[in-house]
């Protein structure tokens, strides 16, 4: 089969590789009909995650048709149409039974490696380096899906792929980001990052009853999407001071909740800080660029919540611990426990409450994945989200 493989920094190639096989009794093999490139794929592409190896198949947002099931899979049949969550979860450990699927205790065979960096290992993830299990990803014609009786959600309606594909990752991730804000009537929620996850965080904050949602980014076309689709107020941080704008919007209080949908490759509008972060990152003195997170904490109102769904991988410098501690800021975070949300969010899509396909701006065949990565990385051609079809 053909699959998109990491071949080095800023290099992916679509190569001929062996077809996946059933390795565990509860596996299924899925023929991929649609898959997408994620912002967190860019951390792999840009070379910030050292545990990736030449030849690894990337991709963790995918859906398709079941073509084979292992003997332990009772709930799926060949021919079923499924969307597959990006964390791999066994369903039986204490974390899974508590609904914390992205923390499954059993699905990372390389748990020892992850423990060295993180203290304890999170769940295995599709296509996200050997640190998280070394599972081949979904930017391919076929994928082996472990614990197929736990993760995949069956699509029984005739909704097109683009309306349900994002249940695999970015829609639940944005939704969890908004849910962690514990939104109550009257709340103002500010969202750093108007990329696909940010767009869903903004839309979800609306669904969950926020009074006002503020989108913060530097690309006007992304801010316009947030304004048009979700009625967000917008702040372009290259033109306006963010903290001033938020003080104005909230009459001096600060936002009740701040969502970081940016993560470790943040760009800062304050040039000396951006240079500082980039130099330290290049010298491997820090692994993250944390300017979005810093600003989210500093801007948040006293006693508010900072909800972090942007991906971080190691250690950041200059964390505003004094601001966080002295002002009773609640910091909530996590890789999304997708399996917890898929059923409910699918129902919302089926009821017409939201159409997730609004983020799709580019559609390419799988063979043009390298071009897709470049377009997405450099935000060319007003790119927001690239969907690939094998």
């Amino acid at each position: 089969m053909r699959a998109n493989c990491w071949m080095g920094r800023n290099t992916v190639e679509v190569r001929e590789v062996p077809d996946p096989k059933i390795l565990n009794d509860r596996d299924a093999v899925v023929r991929v009909t649609s898959t997408a490139i994620c912002g967190s794929d860019l951390h792999l592409y840009d070379g910030y995650i050292s545990a990736v190896r030449r030849g690894d198949i990337l991709g963790h947002e995918f859906m398709g048709e079941v073509v084979e099931t292992g003997p332990g899979v009772g709930n799926l049949s060949v021919g079923d149409r499924v969307v597959v969550p990006f964390p791999i979860a066994c369903g039986a450990c204490t974390s899974c039974t508590a609904g914390r699927y992205a923390l499954c205790e059993n699905t990372n065979p390389n748990a020892g490696m992850a423990e060295k960096l993180f203290g304890h290992s999170p769940a295995g993830v599709f296509g996200y380096s050997h640190l998280l299990g070394g599972y081949p990803g979904g930017q391919a014609e076929y994928v082996r899906v472990p614990f197929a009786d736990v993760g995949p959600v069956k699509i029984e309606s005739d909704l097109p792929d683009e309306k349900v594909l994002f249940l695999s990752d970015i829609f639940p991730t944005g939704y969890m980001g908004a849910e962690m804000c514990d939104i109550t009537p009257g709340d103002v929620v500010a969202v750093w990052g108007a990329g696909p996850v940010g767009q869903f965080a903004i839309a979800s904050a609306r669904l969950l009853g926020a009074e006002k949602v503020v989108a913060i980014d530097r690309f006007d076309y992304r801010l316009a999407m947030a304004a048009d689709r979700s009625g967000a107020l917008t702040v372009n941080y290259e033109e306006t001071d963010v903290q001033d704008a938020l003080r104005d919007i909230t009459a001096g209080r600060g936002p009740d909740a701040c969502i970081d949908a940016v993560g470790m490759e943040a760009h800062s509008g304050f040039a000396p800080l951006h240079v500082y972060d980039r130099v330290k990152q290049a010298a491997r003195l820090q692994t993250e660029r944390g300017s979005a997170l810093r600003q989210a904490i500093m801007s948040c109102r006293n006693g508010g919540t900072v909800s972090v769904v942007g991906v971080y991988g190691g250690f950041m410098d200059k964390f505003p611990v004094g601001s966080w501690m002295n002002r009773s800021i609640t910091l909530r975070t996590g890789q999304c426990h997708v399996q917890r949300y898929t059923r409910d969010l699918l129902e919302r899509v089926e009821r017409g409450e939201i159409d997730p396909s609004f983020v799709v701006t580019h559609r390419l065949p799988l063979d043009r994945a390298p071009e897709g990565y470049e377009t997405f990385k450099h935000k060319q051609d007003d790119c927001v989200k690239v969907v690939l079809s094998p």
Binding site: A3, K21, N24, I57, E105, N106, G127, H130, G134
Partner: protein, 115 residues
């Protein structure tokens, strides 16, 4: 110095005790100092295996993942996977499951060649 390799398994103690022999060859026998205890708050069973930390030889072995600590921890992880999910969990890069000694010869994350 005595250290402890530990894991919590989301299964009742009598089941852990009953299934201990025969599932994971690298685990010591129960009578060899292994301690089992119900985990608080309904979290299952706590398993603790004391072992000797060892000296320079163990540190050298740690480079290849064959030191006592890693062997025991990986064995406990595999045992937990079998009890909680039915099998040792495999990935294409680690088709043998959790085994630190195999880390250096990791296969890329793509399907394994047909035999």
């Amino acid at each position: 110095m005595t250290r402890i390799a530990a894991i919590t398994i989301n299964r009742p103690e009598d089941e852990v005790r009953r299934r201990w022999p025969g599932v994971e060859p690298k685990l010591p026998p129960l009578h060899g100092g292994v301690r089992l205890h119900p985990a608080p708050g309904g979290r299952g069973t706590e398993v603790r295996i004391p072992y000797e930390q060892g000296g320079i030889a163990q540190r050298l072995l740690a480079v290849t993942g064959r030191d006592r600590r890693r062997v025991l921890e990986d064995a406990l992880r595999r045992f937990k996977q079998v009890l909680e999910t039915g099998q040792v969990v495999r990935s294409e890069a680690s088709p043998q499951g959790t085994d630190a000694a195999r880390q250096r010869r990791r296969h890329p994350a793509r399907p394994v060649q047909a035999p």
